[in-house]
Amino acid sequence: MDVSAMIPELLSALPLTLAITFTAMVAGFCLALVASTLRIRRVPVISNLVDIYVSYARSVPVVLQLFVAFYGLPLLVALFGAADFFSPNVAAMVGLSLYHGGYLSEVMRPAYLAVDRGQHDAADSLGYTFRQKIFRIVGPQAIHIGLPGYGNSIIYLIHNVALVMYIGAADVMATAHLIMERDYNQYQFETYLVLAVIYSVLCLIAWLVIRFFELRSPMQAPEAKATTQIRHALISNA
Protein backbone atom coordinates (compact mmCIF):
# COMPACT_ATOMS: atom_id res chain seq x y z
CA MET A 1 0.00 0.00 0.00
CA ASP A 2 1.41 3.38 -0.91
CA VAL A 3 0.91 6.79 0.54
CA SER A 4 -1.53 7.94 -2.15
CA ALA A 5 -3.95 5.18 -1.19
CA MET A 6 -3.47 5.82 2.51
CA ILE A 7 -4.35 9.52 2.42
CA PRO A 8 -7.94 9.05 1.15
CA GLU A 9 -8.46 6.31 3.72
CA LEU A 10 -7.29 8.61 6.52
CA LEU A 11 -9.42 11.46 5.22
CA SER A 12 -12.48 9.22 5.22
CA ALA A 13 -12.29 9.32 9.03
CA LEU A 14 -11.98 13.11 9.09
CA PRO A 15 -15.76 13.78 9.14
CA LEU A 16 -16.02 11.96 12.50
CA THR A 17 -13.10 13.92 13.94
CA LEU A 18 -14.71 17.14 12.75
CA ALA A 19 -18.14 16.12 14.06
CA ILE A 20 -16.71 15.44 17.52
CA THR A 21 -14.75 18.72 17.42
CA PHE A 22 -17.75 20.83 16.40
CA THR A 23 -20.10 19.20 18.87
CA ALA A 24 -17.65 19.79 21.70
CA MET A 25 -17.06 23.35 20.46
CA VAL A 26 -20.75 24.24 20.45
CA ALA A 27 -21.86 22.32 23.54
CA GLY A 28 -18.71 23.33 25.41
CA PHE A 29 -19.31 26.99 24.56
CA CYS A 30 -22.85 26.84 25.95
CA LEU A 31 -21.66 25.01 29.06
CA ALA A 32 -18.86 27.53 29.57
CA LEU A 33 -21.30 30.43 29.22
CA VAL A 34 -23.57 28.97 31.91
CA ALA A 35 -20.63 28.00 34.14
CA SER A 36 -19.00 31.45 33.88
CA THR A 37 -22.29 33.21 34.62
CA LEU A 38 -22.88 31.06 37.70
CA ARG A 39 -19.32 31.50 38.91
CA ILE A 40 -19.48 35.28 38.56
CA ARG A 41 -22.97 35.70 40.04
CA ARG A 42 -22.38 33.28 42.96
CA VAL A 43 -25.68 31.46 43.47
CA PRO A 44 -25.37 29.50 46.73
CA VAL A 45 -24.79 25.73 46.36
CA ILE A 46 -25.18 25.76 42.54
CA SER A 47 -22.08 27.93 42.08
CA ASN A 48 -20.10 25.66 44.38
CA LEU A 49 -21.12 22.64 42.32
CA VAL A 50 -20.03 24.48 39.18
CA ASP A 51 -16.66 25.24 40.85
CA ILE A 52 -16.19 21.50 41.38
CA TYR A 53 -17.13 20.76 37.77
CA VAL A 54 -14.65 23.32 36.41
CA SER A 55 -11.94 22.05 38.70
CA TYR A 56 -12.61 18.47 37.46
CA ALA A 57 -12.53 19.51 33.79
CA ARG A 58 -9.30 21.40 34.20
CA SER A 59 -7.36 19.06 36.46
CA VAL A 60 -8.21 15.52 35.34
CA PRO A 61 -6.24 14.34 32.26
CA VAL A 62 -8.46 14.44 29.19
CA VAL A 63 -7.93 10.78 28.38
CA LEU A 64 -9.13 9.92 31.89
CA GLN A 65 -12.16 12.18 31.41
CA LEU A 66 -12.97 10.21 28.27
CA PHE A 67 -12.81 6.91 30.16
CA VAL A 68 -15.03 8.36 32.89
CA ALA A 69 -17.54 9.46 30.26
CA PHE A 70 -17.43 6.14 28.39
CA TYR A 71 -17.80 3.88 31.45
CA GLY A 72 -19.60 6.27 33.80
CA LEU A 73 -22.39 7.73 31.65
CA PRO A 74 -24.10 4.37 30.94
CA LEU A 75 -24.22 3.76 34.71
CA LEU A 76 -25.67 7.22 35.22
CA VAL A 77 -28.49 6.79 32.66
CA ALA A 78 -29.16 3.28 34.02
CA LEU A 79 -29.95 4.93 37.36
CA PHE A 80 -32.80 6.72 35.61
CA GLY A 81 -33.88 3.51 33.92
CA ALA A 82 -32.87 4.59 30.42
CA ALA A 83 -31.21 2.30 27.91
CA ASP A 84 -27.50 2.71 27.24
CA PHE A 85 -27.17 4.80 24.13
CA PHE A 86 -23.50 5.66 24.62
CA SER A 87 -21.59 4.47 21.61
CA PRO A 88 -17.91 5.44 21.68
CA ASN A 89 -18.72 8.39 19.41
CA VAL A 90 -21.44 9.78 21.68
CA ALA A 91 -19.31 9.24 24.78
CA ALA A 92 -16.45 11.06 23.04
CA MET A 93 -18.69 14.02 22.22
CA VAL A 94 -20.09 14.24 25.74
CA GLY A 95 -16.72 13.76 27.41
CA LEU A 96 -14.96 16.38 25.29
CA SER A 97 -17.88 18.83 25.62
CA LEU A 98 -17.55 18.60 29.39
CA TYR A 99 -13.77 19.05 29.20
CA HIS A 100 -13.95 21.97 26.76
CA GLY A 101 -16.79 23.68 28.69
CA GLY A 102 -14.85 23.63 31.94
CA TYR A 103 -11.65 24.75 30.32
CA LEU A 104 -13.35 27.53 28.35
CA SER A 105 -15.19 28.87 31.37
CA GLU A 106 -11.80 29.76 32.80
CA VAL A 107 -11.16 31.79 29.64
CA MET A 108 -14.53 33.54 29.72
CA ARG A 109 -14.62 34.37 33.43
CA PRO A 110 -11.27 36.21 33.53
CA ALA A 111 -12.13 37.98 30.25
CA TYR A 112 -15.36 39.29 31.77
CA LEU A 113 -13.61 40.32 34.98
CA ALA A 114 -10.85 42.04 33.02
CA VAL A 115 -13.28 44.61 31.61
CA ASP A 116 -12.61 47.83 33.47
CA ARG A 117 -15.00 48.44 36.39
CA GLY A 118 -15.42 51.99 35.09
CA GLN A 119 -17.16 50.70 31.95
CA HIS A 120 -19.84 49.16 34.18
CA ASP A 121 -20.12 52.39 36.18
CA ALA A 122 -20.51 54.51 33.06
CA ALA A 123 -23.22 52.27 31.62
CA ASP A 124 -25.05 52.04 34.96
CA SER A 125 -24.90 55.79 35.49
CA LEU A 126 -26.52 56.35 32.09
CA GLY A 127 -29.39 53.99 32.90
CA TYR A 128 -28.44 50.95 30.80
CA THR A 129 -30.20 47.79 31.96
CA PHE A 130 -27.99 44.83 32.85
CA ARG A 131 -28.80 43.14 29.55
CA GLN A 132 -28.07 46.28 27.48
CA LYS A 133 -24.81 46.78 29.34
CA ILE A 134 -23.69 43.21 28.67
CA PHE A 135 -24.69 43.11 25.02
CA ARG A 136 -23.46 46.55 24.00
CA ILE A 137 -20.50 47.39 26.19
CA VAL A 138 -19.08 44.74 28.52
CA GLY A 139 -19.67 41.74 26.24
CA PRO A 140 -17.90 43.11 23.15
CA GLN A 141 -14.94 44.20 25.28
CA ALA A 142 -14.76 40.83 27.06
CA ILE A 143 -14.84 39.04 23.69
CA HIS A 144 -11.92 41.13 22.53
CA ILE A 145 -9.95 40.28 25.68
CA GLY A 146 -10.91 36.60 25.60
CA LEU A 147 -10.35 35.83 21.90
CA PRO A 148 -6.67 34.81 22.08
CA GLY A 149 -7.44 32.49 25.02
CA TYR A 150 -10.42 31.12 23.13
CA GLY A 151 -8.19 30.39 20.14
CA ASN A 152 -5.83 28.44 22.39
CA SER A 153 -8.65 26.42 23.92
CA ILE A 154 -9.93 25.48 20.43
CA ILE A 155 -6.47 24.28 19.44
CA TYR A 156 -6.20 22.20 22.64
CA LEU A 157 -9.61 20.74 21.85
CA ILE A 158 -8.50 19.71 18.36
CA HIS A 159 -5.42 18.03 19.86
CA ASN A 160 -7.48 16.25 22.49
CA VAL A 161 -9.92 14.83 19.93
CA ALA A 162 -7.02 12.52 18.96
CA LEU A 163 -7.52 10.79 22.33
CA VAL A 164 -10.97 9.43 21.46
CA MET A 165 -9.35 6.38 19.89
CA TYR A 166 -8.72 5.12 23.44
CA ILE A 167 -12.45 4.59 23.94
CA GLY A 168 -12.84 3.11 20.48
CA ALA A 169 -14.10 5.97 18.34
CA ALA A 170 -12.83 5.59 14.77
CA ASP A 171 -11.36 9.04 14.19
CA VAL A 172 -8.32 9.84 12.00
CA MET A 173 -5.91 8.74 14.73
CA ALA A 174 -7.60 5.37 15.22
CA THR A 175 -7.80 4.88 11.44
CA ALA A 176 -4.08 5.58 11.14
CA HIS A 177 -3.37 2.80 13.60
CA LEU A 178 -5.68 0.44 11.74
CA ILE A 179 -3.85 1.15 8.49
CA MET A 180 -0.46 0.61 10.09
CA GLU A 181 -1.41 -2.69 11.68
CA ARG A 182 -2.94 -3.97 8.49
CA ASP A 183 0.29 -3.17 6.64
CA TYR A 184 2.49 -4.92 9.21
CA ASN A 185 3.74 -1.57 10.53
CA GLN A 186 5.74 -0.81 7.38
CA TYR A 187 4.76 2.80 6.84
CA GLN A 188 4.54 4.16 10.34
CA PHE A 189 6.57 7.31 9.75
CA GLU A 190 4.67 8.22 6.56
CA THR A 191 1.30 7.66 8.22
CA TYR A 192 2.15 9.73 11.25
CA LEU A 193 3.53 12.46 8.99
CA VAL A 194 0.27 12.66 7.05
CA LEU A 195 -1.60 12.74 10.35
CA ALA A 196 0.59 15.60 11.55
CA VAL A 197 -0.19 17.55 8.38
CA ILE A 198 -3.93 16.97 8.83
CA TYR A 199 -3.83 18.26 12.43
CA SER A 200 -1.64 21.22 11.43
CA VAL A 201 -4.11 22.24 8.74
CA LEU A 202 -7.07 21.96 11.16
CA CYS A 203 -5.30 24.13 13.72
CA LEU A 204 -4.17 26.60 11.08
CA ILE A 205 -7.76 27.05 9.91
CA ALA A 206 -8.94 27.53 13.51
CA TRP A 207 -6.17 30.07 14.14
CA LEU A 208 -6.99 32.02 10.95
CA VAL A 209 -10.67 32.24 11.87
CA ILE A 210 -9.86 33.51 15.38
CA ARG A 211 -7.26 35.93 14.00
CA PHE A 212 -9.82 37.30 11.57
CA PHE A 213 -12.17 38.13 14.44
CA GLU A 214 -9.33 39.58 16.51
CA LEU A 215 -8.40 42.00 13.75
CA ARG A 216 -12.02 42.84 13.00
CA SER A 217 -12.63 44.02 16.58
CA PRO A 218 -12.96 47.81 16.75
CA MET A 219 -10.74 47.90 19.84
CA GLN A 220 -7.97 46.32 17.77
CA ALA A 221 -8.28 48.67 14.82
CA PRO A 222 -5.85 51.42 15.81
CA GLU A 223 -3.01 49.08 16.78
CA ALA A 224 -3.47 46.98 13.65
CA LYS A 225 -3.53 50.12 11.58
CA ALA A 226 -0.39 51.37 13.33
CA THR A 227 1.51 48.15 12.58
CA THR A 228 0.45 48.34 8.94
CA GLN A 229 1.71 51.92 8.78
CA ILE A 230 5.02 50.94 10.36
CA ARG A 231 5.37 48.05 7.92
CA HIS A 232 4.69 50.38 4.97
CA ALA A 233 7.21 52.88 6.31
CA LEU A 234 9.85 50.17 6.70
CA ILE A 235 9.23 48.84 3.21
CA SER A 236 9.36 52.26 1.58
CA ASN A 237 12.58 53.11 3.46
CA ALA A 238 14.17 49.87 2.40
Binding site: G118, Q119, D121, A123, D124, S125, L126, H144, M219, A221
Partner: protein, 246 residues
Protein backbone atom coordinates in the same frame (compact mmCIF):
# COMPACT_ATOMS: atom_id res chain seq x y z
CA UNK B 1 -34.25 70.00 43.95
CA UNK B 2 -31.76 67.45 45.27
CA UNK B 3 -31.44 66.64 48.93
CA UNK B 4 -29.28 64.02 50.63
CA UNK B 5 -29.80 63.39 54.34
CA UNK B 6 -27.68 61.60 56.89
CA UNK B 7 -25.79 59.47 54.34
CA UNK B 8 -23.69 56.79 55.99
CA UNK B 9 -21.43 54.39 54.13
CA UNK B 10 -18.60 52.09 55.17
CA UNK B 11 -16.26 49.90 53.13
CA UNK B 12 -15.53 47.05 55.53
CA UNK B 13 -14.38 48.62 58.77
CA UNK B 14 -13.51 51.95 57.15
CA UNK B 15 -16.30 54.48 57.71
CA UNK B 16 -16.27 56.66 54.56
CA UNK B 17 -19.40 58.77 54.95
CA UNK B 18 -20.49 59.58 58.45
CA UNK B 19 -23.86 61.25 58.17
CA UNK B 20 -23.59 63.67 55.26
CA UNK B 21 -26.33 66.21 54.51
CA UNK B 22 -26.32 68.08 51.23
CA UNK B 23 -28.97 70.00 49.40
CA UNK B 24 -28.71 71.50 45.95
CA UNK B 25 -31.02 74.02 44.31
CA UNK B 26 -31.83 74.15 40.61
CA UNK B 27 -29.11 76.07 38.75
CA UNK B 28 -26.55 75.68 41.54
CA UNK B 29 -22.94 75.00 40.69
CA UNK B 30 -21.59 73.30 43.80
CA UNK B 31 -17.94 72.37 44.17
CA UNK B 32 -17.01 69.75 46.71
CA UNK B 33 -13.46 70.08 48.02
CA UNK B 34 -11.50 68.40 50.76
CA UNK B 35 -8.59 66.10 51.48
CA UNK B 36 -8.27 62.75 49.68
CA UNK B 37 -10.16 59.88 51.26
CA UNK B 38 -12.88 61.97 52.86
CA UNK B 39 -15.61 60.54 50.67
CA UNK B 40 -16.17 63.32 48.10
CA UNK B 41 -16.32 60.95 45.16
CA UNK B 42 -18.27 58.39 47.17
CA UNK B 43 -20.87 61.00 48.06
CA UNK B 44 -21.27 61.91 44.40
CA UNK B 45 -21.66 58.24 43.51
CA UNK B 46 -24.35 57.80 46.17
CA UNK B 47 -26.57 60.11 44.14
CA UNK B 48 -26.75 57.74 41.16
CA UNK B 49 -26.32 54.67 43.37
CA UNK B 50 -22.94 53.59 42.00
CA UNK B 51 -22.00 53.63 45.66
CA UNK B 52 -24.51 51.98 47.98
CA UNK B 53 -24.91 53.74 51.33
CA UNK B 54 -25.97 51.74 54.37
CA UNK B 55 -28.44 54.38 55.45
CA UNK B 56 -29.73 57.86 54.64
CA UNK B 57 -32.31 59.27 52.26
CA UNK B 58 -32.30 61.03 48.93
CA UNK B 59 -34.99 63.16 47.39
CA UNK B 60 -34.71 64.35 43.84
CA UNK B 61 -37.71 66.54 43.04
CA UNK B 62 -40.59 64.10 43.56
CA UNK B 63 -38.39 60.95 43.57
CA UNK B 64 -37.68 59.82 47.11
CA UNK B 65 -35.69 56.87 48.37
CA UNK B 66 -34.46 55.51 51.67
CA UNK B 67 -31.12 53.80 51.12
CA UNK B 68 -32.05 51.11 53.63
CA UNK B 69 -34.79 50.05 51.22
CA UNK B 70 -33.25 50.49 47.77
CA UNK B 71 -35.87 50.80 45.07
CA UNK B 72 -34.94 49.88 41.51
CA UNK B 73 -37.44 52.23 39.87
CA UNK B 74 -36.29 55.19 41.97
CA UNK B 75 -32.63 54.43 41.22
CA UNK B 76 -33.37 54.19 37.50
CA UNK B 77 -35.44 57.41 37.57
CA UNK B 78 -32.56 59.26 39.23
CA UNK B 79 -30.02 57.79 36.79
CA UNK B 80 -32.12 58.94 33.85
CA UNK B 81 -32.08 62.51 35.14
CA UNK B 82 -28.40 62.70 36.07
CA UNK B 83 -25.19 62.16 34.15
CA UNK B 84 -21.71 61.59 35.46
CA UNK B 85 -18.29 62.59 34.18
CA UNK B 86 -15.64 60.27 35.60
CA UNK B 87 -12.10 60.76 36.83
CA UNK B 88 -10.98 57.83 34.63
CA UNK B 89 -13.17 59.06 31.71
CA UNK B 90 -14.84 55.65 31.31
CA UNK B 91 -15.52 56.27 27.66
CA UNK B 92 -16.83 53.03 26.09
CA UNK B 93 -13.70 51.48 24.58
CA UNK B 94 -15.51 49.50 21.90
CA UNK B 95 -17.17 52.56 20.38
CA UNK B 96 -16.10 55.65 18.47
CA UNK B 97 -16.59 59.12 19.90
CA UNK B 98 -19.84 59.51 17.97
CA UNK B 99 -21.13 56.09 19.02
CA UNK B 100 -20.26 56.84 22.65
CA UNK B 101 -22.39 59.95 22.64
CA UNK B 102 -25.21 58.45 20.53
CA UNK B 103 -25.55 55.07 22.19
CA UNK B 104 -27.32 56.08 25.42
CA UNK B 105 -29.80 58.14 23.38
CA UNK B 106 -30.66 55.19 21.15
CA UNK B 107 -30.49 52.40 23.73
CA UNK B 108 -31.78 54.06 26.88
CA UNK B 109 -33.89 56.94 25.60
CA UNK B 110 -35.13 55.03 22.52
CA UNK B 111 -34.58 57.97 20.19
CA UNK B 112 -34.29 57.32 16.45
CA UNK B 113 -30.75 56.99 15.10
CA UNK B 114 -31.12 60.18 13.04
CA UNK B 115 -32.28 62.25 16.00
CA UNK B 116 -29.59 60.76 18.29
CA UNK B 117 -26.90 61.47 15.72
CA UNK B 118 -28.03 65.07 15.34
CA UNK B 119 -27.93 65.65 19.11
CA UNK B 120 -24.61 63.82 19.43
CA UNK B 121 -22.95 65.84 16.66
CA UNK B 122 -24.15 69.04 18.29
CA UNK B 123 -22.65 68.11 21.68
CA UNK B 124 -19.42 66.85 20.08
CA UNK B 125 -19.08 70.19 18.35
CA UNK B 126 -19.68 71.93 21.65
CA UNK B 127 -16.69 70.17 23.22
CA UNK B 128 -14.61 70.74 20.08
CA UNK B 129 -14.18 67.15 18.92
CA UNK B 130 -15.92 67.24 15.54
CA UNK B 131 -12.72 66.22 13.76
CA UNK B 132 -12.34 63.19 16.07
CA UNK B 133 -15.89 61.89 15.62
CA UNK B 134 -14.95 58.52 14.17
CA UNK B 135 -11.91 57.86 16.33
CA UNK B 136 -11.77 55.06 18.90
CA UNK B 137 -10.78 55.83 22.51
CA UNK B 138 -7.37 54.20 22.05
CA UNK B 139 -6.60 56.88 19.45
CA UNK B 140 -7.41 59.84 21.70
CA UNK B 141 -5.53 61.87 24.32
CA UNK B 142 -6.74 62.10 27.91
CA UNK B 143 -8.20 65.54 27.32
CA UNK B 144 -10.09 64.36 24.26
CA UNK B 145 -11.39 61.33 26.17
CA UNK B 146 -12.67 63.51 28.97
CA UNK B 147 -14.32 65.88 26.49
CA UNK B 148 -16.00 62.84 24.95
CA UNK B 149 -17.19 61.90 28.45
CA UNK B 150 -18.60 65.39 28.90
CA UNK B 151 -20.34 65.32 25.49
CA UNK B 152 -21.89 61.94 26.37
CA UNK B 153 -23.13 63.35 29.68
CA UNK B 154 -24.56 66.48 28.05
CA UNK B 155 -26.29 64.59 25.24
CA UNK B 156 -28.69 62.85 27.61
CA UNK B 157 -29.92 66.30 28.71
CA UNK B 158 -29.56 65.64 32.45
CA UNK B 159 -31.11 67.84 35.12
CA UNK B 160 -27.95 67.47 37.17
CA UNK B 161 -24.46 66.77 35.91
CA UNK B 162 -21.99 65.15 38.29
CA UNK B 163 -18.29 65.84 37.68
CA UNK B 164 -16.08 63.42 39.59
CA UNK B 165 -12.56 64.90 39.65
CA UNK B 166 -12.70 65.41 35.88
CA UNK B 167 -9.12 66.68 35.56
CA UNK B 168 -7.32 64.62 38.21
CA UNK B 169 -5.93 62.02 35.81
CA UNK B 170 -4.89 64.47 33.09
CA UNK B 171 -1.43 65.82 32.62
CA UNK B 172 -1.13 69.55 33.31
CA UNK B 173 -1.10 70.60 29.66
CA UNK B 174 -4.48 68.95 29.01
CA UNK B 175 -6.25 70.26 32.11
CA UNK B 176 -6.93 73.62 30.50
CA UNK B 177 -8.92 72.32 27.54
CA UNK B 178 -11.18 70.29 29.85
CA UNK B 179 -11.71 73.10 32.37
CA UNK B 180 -12.67 75.40 29.51
CA UNK B 181 -15.41 72.98 28.45
CA UNK B 182 -16.63 72.50 32.04
CA UNK B 183 -16.80 76.26 32.51
CA UNK B 184 -18.86 76.54 29.35
CA UNK B 185 -21.21 73.81 30.62
CA UNK B 186 -21.68 75.21 34.12
CA UNK B 187 -22.25 78.74 32.87
CA UNK B 188 -25.09 77.47 30.65
CA UNK B 189 -27.24 77.15 33.78
CA UNK B 190 -27.28 73.38 34.21
CA UNK B 191 -27.19 72.25 37.83
CA UNK B 192 -23.72 70.87 38.50
CA UNK B 193 -21.86 69.12 41.27
CA UNK B 194 -18.11 69.11 40.92
CA UNK B 195 -15.59 67.21 43.00
CA UNK B 196 -12.25 68.84 42.37
CA UNK B 197 -8.79 69.72 43.60
CA UNK B 198 -8.58 72.73 41.26
CA UNK B 199 -9.18 75.41 43.89
CA UNK B 200 -8.94 78.48 41.66
CA UNK B 201 -11.26 76.89 39.15
CA UNK B 202 -13.79 75.90 41.82
CA UNK B 203 -13.72 79.43 43.14
CA UNK B 204 -14.32 80.96 39.73
CA UNK B 205 -17.22 78.79 38.50
CA UNK B 206 -19.15 77.84 41.66
CA UNK B 207 -21.82 79.70 43.56
CA UNK B 208 -21.32 77.31 46.49
CA UNK B 209 -18.41 75.40 47.97
CA UNK B 210 -18.77 72.37 50.21
CA UNK B 211 -15.74 71.37 52.25
CA UNK B 212 -15.72 67.73 53.34
CA UNK B 213 -13.45 66.30 55.99
CA UNK B 214 -13.46 62.80 57.51
CA UNK B 215 -16.79 61.78 56.07
CA UNK B 216 -18.83 64.83 57.00
CA UNK B 217 -19.53 68.27 55.55
CA UNK B 218 -17.19 70.47 57.57
CA UNK B 219 -18.00 73.80 55.90
CA UNK B 220 -20.53 75.01 53.35
CA UNK B 221 -20.83 78.48 51.88
CA UNK B 222 -20.17 80.89 49.05
CA UNK B 223 -16.70 80.85 47.45
CA UNK B 224 -15.89 84.12 49.25
CA UNK B 225 -16.86 82.69 52.65
CA UNK B 226 -14.88 79.52 52.15
CA UNK B 227 -11.74 80.83 50.47
CA UNK B 228 -11.38 84.35 51.83
CA UNK B 229 -12.48 83.85 55.43
CA UNK B 230 -12.29 80.15 56.25
CA UNK B 231 -14.44 79.45 59.30
CA UNK B 232 -12.48 76.57 60.80
CA UNK B 233 -8.78 75.96 61.39
CA UNK B 234 -9.01 72.64 59.54
CA UNK B 235 -10.35 74.34 56.41
CA UNK B 236 -7.67 77.02 56.60
CA UNK B 237 -5.00 74.37 56.97
CA UNK B 238 -6.36 72.44 53.98
CA UNK B 239 -6.52 75.54 51.77
CA UNK B 240 -2.96 76.51 52.73
CA UNK B 241 -1.61 73.10 51.78
CA UNK B 242 -3.50 73.13 48.45
CA UNK B 243 -2.27 76.62 47.58
CA UNK B 244 1.30 75.80 48.45
CA UNK B 245 1.32 73.52 45.40
CA UNK B 246 -0.16 76.08 43.03
Amino acid sequence: MLELKDIKLAYGSAQILNGVDLSVERGDVVSIIGPSGTGKTTLLKCINYLAKPASGTISFDQIKMDYQRPDKTAVQAIRLRTAMVFQQFNVFKNMTVLQNVMDPLVVVQRKSKEEAKEIALHEIERVGLTSRCNHYPSQLSGGQLQRTGIARALAVRPDVILFDEPTSSLDPELVGEVLKVIKDVTSSGITSLLVTHEMQFAKSISNRIVFMDRGVVAADGSPAEIFDSPSSPRLAQFLNSEYSFQ
